[in-house]
Each structure stands twice: as structure tokens, then as C-alpha cells.
Amino acid sequence: MSRPIELVCPAGTPAALAAAVEAGADAVYFGFRDRTNARNFPGLNFSPKEAAEGVALCRRHGVRPMIAINTYPDAGDEALWQRAVDIAAEAGAHAVILCDMGLAAYAAKRHPDLRLHLSVQAAAANEHAIRFYRDAFGIRRVVLPRVLTVPQIAALTQAVPEVETEVFVFGGLCVMAEGRCSLSSYATGQSPNKDGVCSPASAVRYEQEGEVMVSRLAGYTINRFGPGEPAGYPTLCKGRFRAMNRDGHLFEDPTSLDASTLVPDFARAGVAALKIEGRQRGKAYVAQVVKSLKAAIAGTQAAAPAAFLEGGVATTGAYTRAWQ
């Protein structure tokens, strides 16, 4: 291994960014307060000024700032996304994380020195797909979709050695191939790919029926949690539905990814970086999860509190074949 595995940490606000830096992040990723990133939630994210300050703070502490511009520009509205790339480049971001081919072409041409990382939203799941983005746009790193097993990750990393691989190690778990899911768009009209939001809070309603909590998305009942039953995000893929005359979590139980026990396997697989999901999370999450993952990388296992997990339950997801 040429250098230790890098821990890439989320920041939804400058306060969370500071918490990540404080907790020992090697890199921090964040996005602008608009449709150009996949956590476009009201009140969250960075203004251009905050982004520039965030980059400066990271630089002072030897942390690599990465800016996520990881949604798909609308036809006729590409300027918004292109401006985001320009702002990130001017701010001195270590890399931009993007998924759209058109935007990647723009970034590669306009900012030839800017480091491009392929977002998980591109769901590049095989060696040929990674080569496509390398050949077309010169991407330097790919964030792998959460559909691969550890041996598959090792094979991919070996197959395209010029492109670093980054994998999710902790946090929310998309059970669908990322960037190729319009479940939320079908129910709410707001698109994860175009609008940067899955299960938008504005479409979510919780109702208490006594001690039972019912969650609805755009009017569809998507879950009922019994008294004291741990809950998850109001996303469709973690919803409870009726199929074959049975009610249940058809796609996935409310659960979060925790692959901290697999850190040594990722290192052996040649993975360059581990990513923590959760730009929508609070400082408390960022600080505690970053610390526990740093410990895991250093070889001293320290589990993050179960309270931070959806449903209070962890899974290693697709990294283990049996999950599929």
C-alpha cells in the first residue's frame, strides 16, 4: 500500500465541516445550496462564500476538500451546474465529484487541472464503465456503487489501476443502483437525479396513531412503526409494502451500512478511500462516526453508536454476496 486509506467525510453545513476536520477527517465533501448536489435539502449546504471558507479551513488543517456536483443538469439549464464547477475550481477544491457526462466533459475541458472524481450517482459498476469515464474525461477516482461485493471491488481496482476506487463504509444505504432510481420521482415529482432530493421532506408526513407512527410520502403510506419500533428514513426502498398478501420491508429493512469491520479487506483490495455517507446528518453524527472510523482504520475497532443507524441496525449490504 502506497499510502494509508483516506477517510472521506460528509459536511452539510460549515459547522459539520468543522466537526469533521476536528474529528480527524482526511477529506471532507460538501455541496452547494441548490439542485447541483444530491442532498438538496432546505436549510442545508454551502453558499459559494461558505464553500470558499470551507476549502480554506480544510487547507489550513491539511484536509482535502471535495465538492459534490453530483446531479444531472436539466436540458437547457446546464449553466447552473457549469457555474458550480467554476466556483469549486476557483475556490481551490481538491476535487469535484460529479456524475453527468456532459458536465464532466465541460469540467475536463474548462478546468484541465481540476481533479475529477466520478460520483456514486454515475453507478459505474464494471471495469468497462470506469474506463469509459477515464478515457472520455480523465477521471482520477471512482466512488463505487453499493452493488459490489468485496472481491468484485478488488477485481475492479486491479483492472483499472490508473483510477482510484472509493467505497462507502458507513451511513445511509441505497439498495438500488445509485443515480438510476426514480422511485421518489414517481411518487413525489421531485427527482433524485435532477433535483437532488430523495423523499423530499416537504412530501413527508408523520402521523401518530397513538403510539404507532405512520409515515407517508406524497400521500402514499410507506411505513407503520409499532410502539418503540426503531424507524428509518421515509424512503421508498426502506418502506413497508404489501406483496403476495404479506406486509413487510420488501426491498430492505430500515438499516444503515456499517462496513467498519471490512476496513482491512478494503485495504487489501487496494481501495484508496472510504466514504462516510450523511451530509444531512448533524455535528454529533459527523464527530462520532468520523472518530470511530479513524479508529477502525488505525486497527483499534471502536463502533459508532447504534443510535446513529436507521432502525438501530447495521448491515454490510452488497459487500457480502448473501445480501443480494
Binding site: 437547457g76 457526462m101 452493488v147 439498495v175 406524497a218 402514499y220 403510506t221 409494502f241 452488497a318
Partner: protein, 303 residues
């Protein structure tokens, strides 16, 4: 302006070999489709069991004068899936037409004429330009685009010398996963799935806890329950420069559905009559056109 063409998309469901033979014979004998897409796009495990039937279908359709195009897997992850991808891409060098459904296929087909399928995220003109530069001749736009996006992209594709296909009939695939939900619902794993997805000819219905029809599970794919139906919208799409219209195979008289669209495009049937005729063919299936109208995909915006 040349007359738009009609295409039958790849079969998304895991129909038996016999059902496939009968279906494609029917399409070959009596349907107005100019282009028929074959090839497994959902799950690589299904392919070996129906390979002979699909080879026969390709033969029969070609003989009947249809243009046959092979579509690649939407999500190729495992070694065997990637091998399948390489195999289909290689056939492009042997005179077959191929439609790429992921960036991996695009890489394998670069520099050779090929088509781009609806699973490739084409949302803007910049992406169309990248694709055109690498040899794409046509693009089938994703389901979730609105009228405005479709029109802009059709116009841009025209400028780039590409054909534009829009999907006007079928349950929209909403997601694809490494996990098989059909197997999971039957208490099985993907590796030991016993091909349970074959039990549902149009996917497994998924209702909300309130009993409202909502989604369909089709193996690793999740589809809308409501069938996207664009009919009244077709004249505007033609005017915007859309050159082909695609219907997705369902367990109904697809030849008849194709004829309705052919009559609509030829001006033999007005949009309202065409919509009525298609509703008859839908036989109680819910319809949706929300994506086109910039709404939630499940919505039906009446005239």
C-alpha cells in the same frame, strides 16, 4: 420530415421460452413495428434459459423485415454479466445493431455505430454531444423526462445527426438493484432464486399498506404499477423532432397497440380515438403520464 418509426422495446419480464416464441412470431407476422429490441436488460441469469428462443425470434423478425437491435444489461456487475456485456458488444462487429444500457457498453462500443438505451442517464445537450462524438447514432430518452426536456433533447440530437426515440407505452422501470426482490419476497437469495420472477408475467404487484396499487417488482428491477401512456402528447413530440416511438412489451395484444400508434402517426386516427383504443387494450391497468407533464410519474393528467 420523414415518417417517425415504431419500435418494440426489449421484453423486461421473464417469460418462458414458449411464450417468447409465440409472442415474437405474432410480432413478426402481424405488427407495424419497424424495429424490435431483443436482449436481456434486467437479469443476466435469465438469459441462458431462453437463448435459443431469442435467437429464433431474431431470425423470424429479421426475415419479416424488422430491424433487430440487441440491448445490453442495465447493470452488469458480476463476471458472467460483464462477459455477457462483452459478448453483445462484440456482436456489433459482426453486423448486429446494439443498444448500450450502461457506460461499460458505451466503452466497448466506442468508435463504432451504436444506439444508446433509456438506462443511460441522458438529461442534457452536453451528454448528447459526448455520446454523438463516440459513435452513438440514436438515443432512447429516459422515462422521467418532461415534455420540455424531451423537446430540447430531440432538437439537439437532430443537430448532432442522431435519431431520438421516446417511450410512449409501458410500465416505467424505476430502479435496478444488485438484490433480487422477487427472490427476497419468496424467501430466497439471488443465487438460489429458482427463477421465481417467471411466475409473474407483468411483475409482482406491490401495494401500499392501505392496499393501493403502487409498484411492480420484476426481479432486480422495480417498475411503476401504472403504465406510462403518451398518446395525446405524440403530435407535439413529432413536432419537436422525435424520430421514433417505443412501446414496451406487456401481456396484451402488442400488435394491436402498435397499430393504434401507427394509425395515429399516419393521421388515420385522432389522438382522442387513439387514447380510447389504447385504454381498451389496457384492460383495467392504471395509466400515468405525470413525468411528461412535469409531475409525479404516477399522476394521470387528463386532457
Amino acid at each position: 420530415m420523414t415518417q417517425p418509426t415504431l419500435a418494440l422495446g426489449p421484453l423486461l419480464y421473464n417469460w418462458s421460452a414458449d411464450r417468447r416464441r409465440a409472442f415474437y412470431c405474432g410480432i413478426a407476422e402481424d405488427s407495424p413495428f419497424d424495429v424490435v429490441y431483443l436482449g436481456e436488460t434486467v437479469c443476466g441469469k435469465r438469459e441462458p434459459l431462453v437463448a435459443d428462443a431469442m435467437a429464433e425470434a431474431a431470425e423470424v423478425l429479421s426475415t419479416a423485415g424488422k430491424t433487430v437491435v440487441l440491448s445490453t444489461l442495465a447493470l452488469a456487475v458480476t463476471e458472467s454479466e460483464v462477459d455477457a456485456l462483452r459478448g453483445v458488444a462484440a456482436s456489433a462487429g459482426e453486423g448486429f445493431r446494439v443498444e448500450a444500457n450502461d457506460a461499460g457498453a458505451l466503452a466497448l462500443l466506442a468508435g463504432r455505430p451504436h444506439r444508446v438505451g433509456p438506462y443511460v442517464n441522458v438529461y442534457n445537450e452536453g451528454t448528447l454531444t459526448v455520446l454523438a462524438e463516440r459513435g452513438a447514432e440514436s438515443v432512447c430518452l429516459p422515462w422521467e423526462l418532461s415534455a420540455d426536456s424531451l423537446a430540447r433533447l430531440a432538437e439537439a440530437a437532430g443537430r448532432l445527426g442522431m435519431a431520438t426515440e421516446v417511450q410512449v407505452f409501458g410500465r416505467a422501470p424505476l430502479a435496478i438493484s444488485a438484490r433480487c426482490y422477487h427472490a427476497r419476497a419468496h424467501g430466497l437469495s439471488k443465487d438460489g432464486c429458482r427463477y421465481v420472477c417467471g411466475q409473474d408475467v407483468e411483475g409482482m404487484p406491490v401495494d401500499t399498506l392501505d392496499g393501493a396499487a403502487f409498484l411492480r417488482v420484476n426481479g432486480t428491477q422495480t417498475q411503476a404499477d401504472a403504465l406510462t401512456l403518451l398518446v395525446r402528447e405524440v403530435p407535439d413530440l413529432v413536432a419537436a423532432g422525435v424520430t421514433a416511438f417505443r412501446l414496451s412489451p406487456h401481456d396484451l395484444d402488442m400488435g394491436a397497440a402498435g397499430r393504434v400508434y401507427a394509425d395515429l402517426l399516419a393521421g388515420r386516427l385522432d389522438p382522442v380515438a387513439a387514447e380510447d383504443a389504447l385504454f381498451d387494450l389496457l384492460d383495467g391497468r392504471a395509466a400515468a403520464n405525470g413525468f411528461y407533464h412535469g409531475r409525479d410519474g404516477a399522476a394521470w393528467i387528463a386532457a
